[in-house]
């Protein structure tokens, strides 16, 4: 009885790990490809260990194209992503607090608008937003890629509201009795307790923004201003024969920040969404 149970257990863990390995195989293949020669990549082997380790791909790739190195692209990506993520967290927390904790006239209306924005596919707004930024003369600048993120992102507002619903209102009441204003409650009661939800927002918004391709494609045409995602695609297109090894090397580097954030915070992500549970 006991042995069949432990055999079952081993079989379960074996299956889960093997299947998980299959799932991340393409990513591992990319990392290994960054050390392979072009010929070996194009032959299309399944092997993860390169026949000959070729680390020169990284040096070649970093040089970039038309005189701009990847330091520029990664730097652009990094600060755009950091600013947009900061904006999302701050503004979404403020709005979520208003919509979930303060009974003001128009709350229902703005809540409905927020849900509507959440259900509205962004691509519908692509053309008209582009036209407006064009009219304002801001196409080609970073403004369209950053400013909207300081106005609250509906998806995260909703997540945070779900989370706040789980914070007992008695805490607000107690703070009020202690003479805390509505502003004080936000900073001293809600914000500290919101941490798991904030961390979830940081991770998700960070990798969404870091990976974003359409935004930079629409608004940035100057190669000097390009983000990493844009640059990798341009790199793939730049030479007549693509240097796959170098492309994979730059691709691998471009995923490092996302992985770092994930490794650092993933405990919160896996549990954070859990506790923000979706009721009703």
């Amino acid at each position: 009885m006991k042995t069949t149970k432990s055999i079952k257990k081993i079989a379960y863990h074996f299956f889960v790990v093997a299947f998980g390995f299959l799932m991340v195989y393409p990513v591992l293949w990319m990392v290994s490809g960054s050390f392979k020669g072009n010929a070996e990549i194009l032959r299309g082997g399944l092997n993860l260990i390169p026949k000959e380790l070729k680390s020169s791909n990284y040096a070649t790739g970093w040089k970039g194209f038309s005189g701009i190195t990847f330091s520029t692209y990664f730097w652009n990506s990094l600060w755009i992503t950091l600013l947009a993520t900061l904006g999302t967290v701050v503004s979404s927390a403020l709005v979520a607090y208003a919509l979930s904790r303060i009974r003001f006239k128009g709350r229902k209306f703005w809540f409905t608008c927020m849900i509507a924005t959440m259900l509205l596919p962004g691509q519908i707004l692509m053309v008209p937003s582009f036209l407006i930024w064009h009219k304002l003369g801001l196409v080609g600048t970073y403004v369209p890629l950053i400013l909207p993120y300081f106005c609250g992102q509906a998806f995260f507002i909703y997540q945070m509201m779900q989370f706040m619903a789980g914070i007992p209102r008695e805490l607000d009441a107690a703070a009020t009795i202690d003479g805390c204003s509505k502003y004080g409650i936000f900073f001293h009661v809600i914000l500290p307790l919101l941490k798991p939800s904030i961390v979830t927002t940081v991770i998700i918004q960070f990798y969404w923004k870091w990976d974003d391709y359409m935004g930079p494609l629409l608004y940035l045409s100057d190669p000097k201003k390009a983000t990493a995602s844009l640059a990798i695609k341009m790199f793939a297109d730049s030479a007549s024969t693509t240097d796959y090894g170098a492309m994979f090397a730059m691709s691998t580097i471009s995923l490092i920040p996302v992985f770092l954030i994930f490794l650092f915070f993933n405990r919160y992500l896996i549990q954070g969404i859990g506790t923000s549970g979706l009721k009703g």
């Binding site: 082997g45 703005w110 691509q123 407006i132 990798y207 990798i232």
Partner: protein, 306 residues
């Protein structure tokens, strides 16, 4: 009675007044963003959709009524792009949700390693949207790519995935299904909240694994299934990067996603009026589909009150 009610009213008036102000202060970023980045764009696009606005020609756009909308249905590529997008959505979303639920179910065991496993299974979602991985995907399904190497090893014929207009969509579908992580985590959270006592009661009544899954797990999860279904459907309709980078819409428009076609008309050809009409048509289709999901959900979503 009267007096206390009156003073209460005065107090609550004051209270409301203050709340009004505070509420708007905190909601201000959204109010501003909603007006500037959603409402105004959507209304201007409605206006432009009725004009022949083009980036290529100078001067004021002419008002041409619903001509753009009529032209949509004469446009073979447009009609095709709707078909391609619907096919993509209807195949990828159910598969993705089923897969996410399967993995979430698999990872409900009480084991310390489960959190680690969940992180592992989340990786495709973490990186899948990037250009880097999209280019890898293109390589995986290339003529001499990994996938074909595997097929040949298994004794099958290699397939020219991106050369066949009927097949080219499937690698894209597979890529979308592969990014099942966020749905999985939300399902996992939902599974955790189903009371153990329900399962015990079912086991006492002699229910087998499948029955328990169908009669208890699925109904209890139905609100979460609805949420995932809606969010994934919307994001599937917006699919752009994969098609743009991997196939560019080809071959023979076999992967011409809606968003990609809108992009091409707006940015490549500069037909802003026409592109706006396409966006609005899409908005109507999306709203109808979301509405249908919501309406039918009354029949299959169970709330705790039932």
């Amino acid at each position: 009675m009267d007096k206390s009610a009156l003073s209460l009213k005065v107090d609550s008036q004051k209270f409301l007044h203050r709340n009004e102000f505070v509420g708007h202060v905190f909601a201000a970023p959204f109010v501003f963003g909603f007006i500037c980045f959603s409402l105004i764009p959507i209304l201007t696009s409605l206006y432009y959709s009725l004009t022949n606005y083009s980036m290529m020609t100078k001067g004021q756009p002419d008002f041409i009524g619903i001509k753009n909308y009529l032209n949509l249905f004469q446009d073979e590529i447009f009609v095709k792009s709707i078909g391609v997008t619907l096919k993509y959505v209807f195949i990828s979303v159910p598969l993705k949700l089923a897969f996410a639920l399967f993995v979430a179910y698999l990872l409900t065991r009480k084991s310390r390693l489960v959190t680690l496993y969940r992180s592992l299974y989340y990786i495709p979602s973490l990186v899948g949207g990037s250009v880097a991985v999209t280019l890898v995907w293109k390589q995986l399904f290339a003529r001499k790519g990994l996938f074909n190497a595997l097929m040949v090893n298994l004794g099958l014929d290699a397939i020219n995935w991106f050369g066949d207009k009927n097949l080219a969509l499937y690698p894209l579908v597979l890529m979308s299904v592969w990014q099942f992580g966020s749905s999985m985590i939300i399902f996992a959270a939902g599974l955790k909240e189903i009371p153990e006592s329900y399962y015990e009661a079912a086991r006492i009544d002699g229910g087998n694994g499948l029955q328990i899954f169908l009669r208890i797990t699925l109904p209890c999860l139905s609100p979460i299934i609805l949420y995932n279904l809606i969010m994934q459907t919307i994001s599937a309709f917006m699919a752009f990067t994969q098609a743009y980078i991997i196939t560019g819409g080809g071959p023979d428009n076999g992967t011409m996603m809606y968003a990609l076609y809108v992009y091409l008309h707006a940015i490549k050809y500069g037909n802003m009026g026409y592109a706006c009409a396409m966006s609005w048509f899409m908005l109507v289709i999306m709203s109808i589909i979301t509405l249908i999901i919501f309406k039918t959900s009354k029949a299959w979503v169970f709330t705790e009150a039932d």
